[in-house]
């Protein structure tokens, strides 16, 4: 099998990886913020529930979580798993996991905003919602960007974990070809793909950080 042909076969897989990546960010970034707000809420029960959720998400392997999301409905409730659920399960698993990590990052960022910012906003007549959206959140986003970048880069590599429930993303595809053709080539190409993907992500994040450099 020629290199060109391998690349062609891996193309579909790479698209799946990119889609997993984008959908995960699209949902987990806002969900993480909500989770962080719940984690900081005055409601004790909500706070404890969220603490438990976060500690489970951070304390167990993502691979295992993906399997639970995919096989759980059958083993727990006897619901028959359709193959179309495969992809949804990957997204649900990634989103739940990454939202927990992002929540902790948001929480750190929110707690780092000086109390005086809230007080100034209160004095000036901003409502709590206006205060959060206009005054607090923009400052939070700036402080957490470096940590978010780290997570996002990890996510690029983590997308390969989707192979455990046989979603044919890049890595799954590479493995299949490598096994059939007994060649290392697909893995090398997959490695290059992840490397380039990450370089692009790192570049984009650096641009965003730079765009926020206008104040300190």
């Amino acid at each position: 099998m020629s290199v060109g042909k391998i690349i062609l076969q891996l193309l579909d897989g790479s698209l799946v990886s990119i889609v997993i990546f984008l959908l995960t960010l699209l949902f987990s970034l806002p969900l993480g913020l909500l989770v962080a707000l719940g984690r900081l809420s005055k409601d004790r029960i909500l706070r404890s529930l969220i603490k438990v959720y976060i500690s489970i998400m951070r304390g167990t392997p993502l691979m295992l979580q993906l399997m639970v999301v995919f096989f759980g409905p059958y083993y727990l409730f006897g619901i028959k798993i359709k193959t179309s659920y495969r992809f949804a399960a990957v997204i649900i698993g990634f989103v739940l996991n990454y939202a927990a990590y992002f929540a902790e990052i948001y929480r750190g960022g929110i707690e780092a905003v000086p109390k005086g910012q809230y007080e100034a906003a209160r004095l000036l007549g901003y409502t709590p919602a206006q205060t959060f959206l206009r005054i607090i959140l923009p400052q939070v986003i700036k402080t957490i960007l470096p940590s978010v970048t780290n997570e996002v880069i990890t996510l690029v590599k983590d997308t390969s974990l989707a192979f455990v429930i046989a979603v044919s993303e890049m890595f799954t595809a590479a493995k299949a070809i490598a096994a059939a053709q007994t060649t290392m080539m697909p893995f090398i190409i997959a490695g290059i793909f992840y490397y380039v993907f990450n370089a692009v992500v790192a570049f984009a994040m650096a641009r965003i950080e730079k765009a926020m450099d206008y104040y300190e």
Partner: protein, 255 residues
């Protein structure tokens, strides 16, 4: 009704076991400039924070122009007015913080207009014109597009004064407005406050700048241990024979 703009009666405030304000009553008339002096830890900031609704008081009464922000009921509980009423009362005062608390991600112009536009529904053009006028008045023309981090401490504090003024408060509180500044920058901020005093802005100023307090105040209040130990005209306070006042002022020794 009298001309009383701010009226605080029998304010008591504790943090846990620590009683910070024991029984403080203070009324300030329109146009009056009141300085509050006293050793650190005597409760000056707490007094301003209670008066500006940043802290809730344990008991006592607070009103602005006859509108009650809170009172103490027969059971001795402090009862605050409704959210709506408090929102209305909040428009009557501004507070200038020791460390400015400007919004770092907003330009100077946005810092001084955003609240008016977003929180008070002032038309944009009006808010901008008002802000530009005030910025010019306080020597900040040309700084509209700067960010707080690009300004000196003195400029930042002047911006924060403009931010408070831009909402047209009836009274402005200052909590040690020059304490975070290098000595060579305090003068420009004190001059701004003095110009406001000359324009008969009602102000309550916590300060350690004794000669400034003497110069601008109609009344000086000396606080210690959560109580107003003495008050009077600057002359009365600064020439007082009261041992505590004398020793406090003597220590600062910059009259």
């Amino acid at each position: 009704m009298s001309d009383c703009l701010v009226e605080i009666k029998n304010l008591k405030k504790s943090f846990g076991d620590l009683t910070v304000l024991k029984d403080v009553s203070l009324s300030v008339e329109k146009g009056e400039v009141v300085s509050v002096i006293g050793p650190s830890g005597s409760g000056k900031s707490t007094l301003l924070r209670c008066a500006t609704l940043l802290e809730t008081m344990d008991s006592g009464e607070l009103s602005y122009m006859g509108e009650k922000a809170c009172y103490t009921d027969a059971q001795g509980r402090c009862v605050y007015a409704s959210k709506e009423e408090l929102k209305h009362i909040r428009k009557k005062f501004g507070l200038v913080f020791q460390n400015f608390n400007l919004f770092p991600h907003f330009s100077v112009l946005k810092n001084v207009t955003d609240a008016a536009i977003v929180a008070h529904g002032v038309p944009k053009e009006e808010a901008f014109a008002n802000a530009r006028r005030l910025l010019t008045q306080f020597g900040l023309e040309g700084k509209e597009d700067s960010y707080p981090c690009q300004l000196s401490g003195g400029q930042q504090q002047r911006v924060s004064i403009v931010r408070a003024l831009a909402l047209n408060p009836q009274v402005i509180y200052f909590d040690e407005p020059t304490s975070a500044l290098d000595p060579e920058l305090t003068g420009e901020v004190l001059r701004v406050i003095k110009s406001l005093a000359e324009a008969h802005m009602t102000m309550i100023i916590v300060t350690h700048e004794m000669s400034f307090a003497k110069e601008v105040s109609d009344r000086v209040i000396f606080m210690e241990n959560g109580l107003i130990q003495m008050q009077g005209t600057p002359e009365q306070v600064f020439t007082s024979e009261n041992e505590r006042v004398k020793s406090f002022i003597g220590k600062l020794g910059n009259i």
